[in-house]
């Protein structure tokens, strides 16, 4: 074992030696520099290995051979080993990244860099407060030098601010040290802690000064303008160091000195400061467009988050360290990687990051880093946040949970905007950039570290067996073959899904609910993927993401515990986000989708937290016995799931997201993905159970929400000119029905709900597939630019017609089954007004259905569409398979509904529907699907036959063989009345869909951004203002904590 003290000896020895090499021997200096960093990494890594594998005891390093407190003592324990390894790895990779720049600036720059890394190491290891002061001072001076590497004027300004503020804070630290020394008689941290400085007012001022100095180092909001400028002005490579190595070290240092003020109040203040920083920095970041500055805000926010976690350590107990580590490591890898990418792009505005598209590897890593920051699975921060929230909830600290989730959401606001820009923003000319190997390798290494740590932490948290990784591995495999042509990947994907369905099925033997949903999810997956054969090229990135979504969906079904459920929920969200954003104009819509999704996910998380807190049981069945704030918990869960089902108020993301998605993505996200929300709601309602006193109001409200959603959705669809948006609004409406039906909590209602769910899956898949295909064929979304397609695309027409009949609930097709059950349920439940609204909405549906089929298929064929052909057979095949499904379901619903009925019966007091063959009887009425089918079918055929016989000789009219207003039309556009055909209706009832809700969210977001803009004015750029902030912070903190306020 190499003694840790050699970290100092080697680094300083090399740094001093490098002065010997002039320009002639520069290369040797460079080699020594890298070798030195490498040996630091080796030493700390070796210790880490030692601790992990051999579980060695903590090593104490006595300098000068004397015992503490009389000499300085360093310590190398497990935590120090972790931290120093992190710092040194970042240092080494960063050096590689910056090497050309450092080399250009000469040996001096390298020396400074080396000493920066060395001092960071010592700050982590030392146990002596004055030594800590000296080495943090070395660190900040070295950093003040590194900032100047770019040589720009901005860098000098930033460095000046940094120097002044860190000078003030180190002055205060010195004062604190000397007074603390006076009271404790020692300079070691542990002795000072044992002296209980905080207990007496006299000595507590010393403790205050110490702590406040370290807090200032961590850049608490709002006294952090100086810190942010450093991130902005320094070379991104240096930003990476500050964010990854520096922030990690200062957090650990803070963790070491925190017990100086041991006392619940103090910790509470610290947590509060952390929370304010977390929220404030993220808030301000929402207005930021400079990537480095944005990353700076985000870094500071993350540090605030960690500070908050440390402040809550009394609550979190022994889990503090592992939680903070998992969040820290995500931050570390992600921020380093992001800063480095930023250095490669060298863009002033995050909009220019769209150039990243040119390099798929970087783009992938960029996405991974962002998701890691926000806390998506499988990254460490996901598990960290999960543990954190579960623990907090268990101890009743709800307000902290709210703070964390709000801040994380705000973080999502800007990070996803950024991601959207990178993936999708239209750019006339993508700026060129070079990716040299020495810059790519560090970034990729950080990516590897991130994924490696994900795997490792899953193991540490003991989540490994809880999560099924087989689908994930499959996703990875698909990712590995992403370069192959689409049809190969398509085949592999379909085969994989089919096999997995086959593999999974036996385990769901007695669980009809899950069988239904697996049918929807995976059956739907296969069918929609079949349509993918119509696409050409490699479709880079499509298959991994689609499969990721399906993996998440499958995982939802397999989930036994809340963690599994949430893990897969997030996985699905991430996958679907990438699918949605693939559309040409999807960027803003995918953005709002993901924002609603993460907000919903956080609501679910909090709900799970409450459930976990009440039962101390991570299984999903804990949901049925929530004793902590049950009403709130159920509401949160419901709201969370409703973001996916796009219920009223939470629906505004859907039209755009579904409407603009690619033609085969729309059915995936509409017919399949929305059902995930339904599945969640079903699980939730099953857990709530009938007559749960905590959820009565909730269910009632949800019932109304469902009814109004239906109305708004259908009404919205009526006024759409865009075919896919029309369908998207229609989805909102249909999901409204489903939500409404399930809130009944009666047997009949649920049966109706299931019928709707199955129907919606089938007809919406058909519609989106076919309409999507047509949209692609015709090259326009606007229905008024289509028309007359019936002659060109008869098969499509029939598919659409049948779907429409189902949506309309017109007998004899299966839509009517849903309606019939539904009205029985309404009357039985007694929710008449809601029922009436739904009924009204149901008729409104005719308006848009007519518009859809009329504008697209009927009316006048346009000149430029004379040569179009039927859409691809690959789209029609799945559609017709689904039509067969609809027909079977229509004619023999009892084979599906009866088992469902039996399945759900135990959950309710009574079974209110009885089956005799195909005849269903309720207390209110009866319905015999098969007979109706036969009667209607026969009558229909007879009439049709008669008419055909009557008009056998009819001649075809030419398109314009019509006369009106004494003129013969000659252009189809003038004759195809489709645009805004419901103008009168809009005048009368348009107010219902007046974009009140969209306005509400717009106002919310505008206000948030305004507020952020207003807040960030504190960062006026003036050095003195920043100083003022710092002093103000200190004074206020003092007055609150000690001054007796």
């Amino acid at each position: 074992m190499v003694a840790p003290i050699y970290i100092i000896a080697i680094a300083l020895g090399l740094a001093f030696t490098m002065g010997l090499f002039g320009k002639q021997l520069k290369n040797i200096a460079g080699v020594l520099f890298i070798a030195g960093l490498g040996s630091l990494t080796f030493i700390s890594g070796q210790w880490l290995w030692n601790f992990m594998v051999n579980s060695a005891a903590t090593e104490i390093i006595y300098t000068a051979g004397f015992k503490p407190p009389f000499a300085i003592v360093l310590q190398m324990g497990f935590e120090e080993a972790v931290l120093t390894t992190m710092i040194n790895v970042a240092g080494l990779l960063g050096a590689l990244y910056l090497f050309p720049l450092l080399d250009k600036k000469g040996n001096n720059a390298m020396m400074v860099y080396l000493i920066f890394i060395m001092s960071t190491n010592v700050a982590v290891m030392t146990s002596d407060i004055f030594n800590l002061f000296v080495f943090t001072e070395v660190e900040s001076i070295a950093l003040a030098g590194l900032i100047l590497l770019t040589g720009q004027s901005k860098a000098f300004q930033a460095g000046m601010k940094y120097l002044i503020v860190s000078g003030i804070s180190s002055g205060l630290l010195l004062l604190g040290i000397i007074f603390a020394y006076q009271f404790s008689g020692s300079l070691t941290i542990i002795d000072m802690i044992n002296a209980n400085l905080w207990a007496v007012k006299a000595s507590s001022i010393a403790a205050f000064l110490l702590i406040v100095a370290f807090i200032i180092e961590m850049k608490p909001f709002p006294a952090n303008g100086w810190g942010i400028d450093v991130y902005t002005a320094a070379h991104p490579g240096i930003g990476a160091m500050v964010s990854a190595a520096g922030a990690s070290a200062s957090l650990y240092v803070f963790y070491k000195v925190m017990p100086l003020v041991n006392g619940n109040d103090w910790y509470y203040f610290i947590a509060l400061i952390g929370a304010i920083t977390f929220v404030g920095s993220n808030l301000v970041a929402t207005r930021q467009e400079n990537p480095n500055r944005l990353l700076g805000y985000s870094s500071i926010g993350q540090v605030g988050f960690l500070m908050m976690i440390l402040g809550l350590q009394d609550v979190l107990g022994e889990r503090t360290l592992i939680i903070s580590f998992s969040i820290l490591i995500s931050h570390y890898a992600a921020k380093a990687g992001l800063f480095w990418i930023s250095g490669i792009l060298n863009a002033e505005n995050i909009k220019d990051w769209s150039a990243l598209r040119k390099n798929p590897i970087l783009l992938f890593l960029f996405g991974a880093f962002l998701f890691a920051l926000i806390g998506f699975p499988p990254f460490p921060s996901f598990f960290g946040k999960w543990e954190l929230i579960m623990t907090l909830s268990q101890t009743g600290n709800y307000s902290w949970i709210v703070v964390i989730l709000v801040a994380s959401f705000i973080e999502g606001i800007y990070l996803f905007r950024w991601l959207g820009y990178a993936i999708k923003l239209d750019h006339a000319q993508l700026p060129a950039f070079k990716t040299p190997w020495y810059q790519l390798i560090p970034i990729m290494s950080m990516g590897l570290i991130l994924f490696g740590m994900s795997a490792y932490l899953t193991h540490v948290f003991n989540f490994g067996p809880a999560i099924n990784y087989i689908p994930l591995l499959f996703v990875l495999a698909i990712f590995a073959i992403d370069f192959l042509p689409a049809y190969i990947k398509n085949t592999v994907s379909i085969a994989g899904i089919a096999y997995y369905t086959y593999y999974l099925w036996p385990s769901l033997e007695n669980d009809l609910l899950r069988q239904i949903f697996i049918g929807i999810f995976l059956g739907g997956a296969i069918l929609t993927l079949v349509a993918g054969y119509a696409k050409k090229g490699t479709r880079a990135g499509f298959y991994p993401m689609a499969l990721m979504m399906f993996a998440g969906l499958v995982g939802l079904i397999e989930a036994k515990s809340m963690l599994q459920f949430f893990f897969n929920w997030e996985l699905m969200t991430a996958g679907s986000y990438f699918l949605i954003i693939r559309g040409k104009r999807s960027m803003p819509h995918a953005y709002s989708y993901i924002l609603f999704s993460i907000a919903g996910a956080y609501a679910i998380l909090m709900g799970f937290g409450l459930a976990y807190g009440s039962q101390l049981n991570g299984n999903l069945d804990a949901l049925s016995q929530i004793s902590l704030l049950p009403a709130l918990a159920y509401s949160l869960l419901a709201v969370g799931f409703m973001t996916k089902t796009a219920s009223l108020g939470l629906h505004i993301w859907l039209p755009g997201a579904h409407g603009e998605a690619e033609s085969d993505v729309s059915p995936m996200v509409s017919a399949i993905l929305l059902k995930a929300g339904v599945f969640g709601l079903i699980l939730l309602f099953l857990s709530i159970g009938v007559d749960n006193p905590n959820a009565t109001t909730l269910l009632y409200v949800l019932g109304w929400v469902g009814a109004l959603t239906t109305l708004i959705g259908n009404m919205g669809a009526v006024f759409q000119e865009d075919a896919k948006r029309l369908l998207a609004y229609s989805s909102i409406g249909q999901l409204g029905y489903i939500l409404f039906a399930f809130t009944f909590m009666t047997h009949m209602g649920w049966l109706a709900g299931f019928t709707y769910t199955i129907n919606h899956f089938m007809f919406k898949a058909i519609l989106f597939l076919v309409i999507g295909g047509i949209v692609v064929k015709l090259g326009t979304h606007n229905m008024y630019e289509m028309g007359g397609m019936i002659k060109k695309m008869p098969f499509s027409f029939i598919a659409v017609l049948i779907s429409i009949i189902v949506i309309g609930g017109i007998p004899p097709l299966s839509g009517f089954a849903g309606k019939w059950l539904f009205y029985n349920a309404v009357i039985e439940k007694g929710w008449y007004f809601q029922g009436a609204i739904i009924f009204f909405a149901g008729i409104v549906a005719f308006l848009y259905l007519f518009k859809l089929i009329y504008s697209v298929f009927l009316g006048q064929l346009k000149d430029n569409h004379r040569n179009v052909k039927e859409i691809s057979a690959w789209i029609l095949i799945p559609s017709y398979i689904l039509i067969i499904g609809i027909m079977i379901f229509s004619a023999f619903p009892q084979y599906i509904l009866q088992p469902i009925s039996d399945m759900i019966a135990p959950h309710f007091q009574s079974e209110t529907i009885t089956w005799t063959g195909s005849l269903a009887t309720t207390s209110l009425g009866y319905w015999d699907a098969t007979t109706i089918m036969i009667v209607v079918g026969t009558a229909f055929m007879l009439l049709l036959g008669w008419l055909i016989w009557l008009s056998a000789k009819a001649q075809k009219v030419e398109q314009f063989n019509i006369v009106f207003a004494a003129e013969r039309p000659f252009r189809p556009e003038t004759t195809h009345v489709s645009y805004n055909i419901y103008a009168g209706y809009q005048k009368a009832l348009g107010w219902i869909v007046a974009p009140g809700i969209t306005n509400f969210w717009n106002t919310m977001s505008t206000n948030l951004l305004e507020f952020a803009g207003w807040t960030r004015r504190i960062y006026s750029g003036s050095i003195q203002n920043y100083t003022l902030h710092v002093i103000l912070f200190i004074v206020v903190f003092y007055l609150i904590s000690i001054g007796g306020l």
């Binding site: 001076i141 000098f156 300004q157 930033a158 000046m160 010195l174 000397i178």
Partner: protein, 117 residues
């Protein structure tokens, strides 16, 4: 006496802070910073002072069981370090001032607001 010196030190720190926060000329801010540093050093040494203590330089090996009547050497050692660090920081700040001036031809602190928001 030590009380008076302590007050002097604290007052110098306050003056330094006032200068840093109020004065517009960055050069003078560096001067204020030097005052701030000096004040802190004075305070630190004062803390180690022991009435009737001698300077911590022994003229003979102390005999077992008796403690030489000296002032506390530890703060002095710390201040030594602190003074040198102060020099380093001042020199660095002056370099910055020089560069800033070279850039903007001004010492007014309000001309260095390129970075904000």
């Amino acid at each position: 006496m030590e009380y008076i010196i302590l007050i002097t030190g604290l007052a110098l720190i306050l003056m330094g802070l006032y200068g840093i926060m109020y004065i517009k000329n960055i050069f003078r801010i560096v001067i204020a910073f030097a005052l701030f540093d000096t004040g802190i050093n004075i305070v630190m040494v004062t803390i180690g002072y022991l009435r009737n203590g001698m300077a911590p330089i022994l003229d003979k090996m102390p005999t077992e069981g008796t403690t030489p009547a000296i002032v506390d050497p530890v703060p002095q050692a710390l201040v030594l370090t602190s003074i040198v660090i102060g020099l380093g920081v001042s020199a660095l700040m002056l370099t910055y001032v020089l560069k800033l001036y070279e850039d903007k031809k001004s010492l007014d602190i309000n001309s260095f607001k390129d970075l904000k928001w």
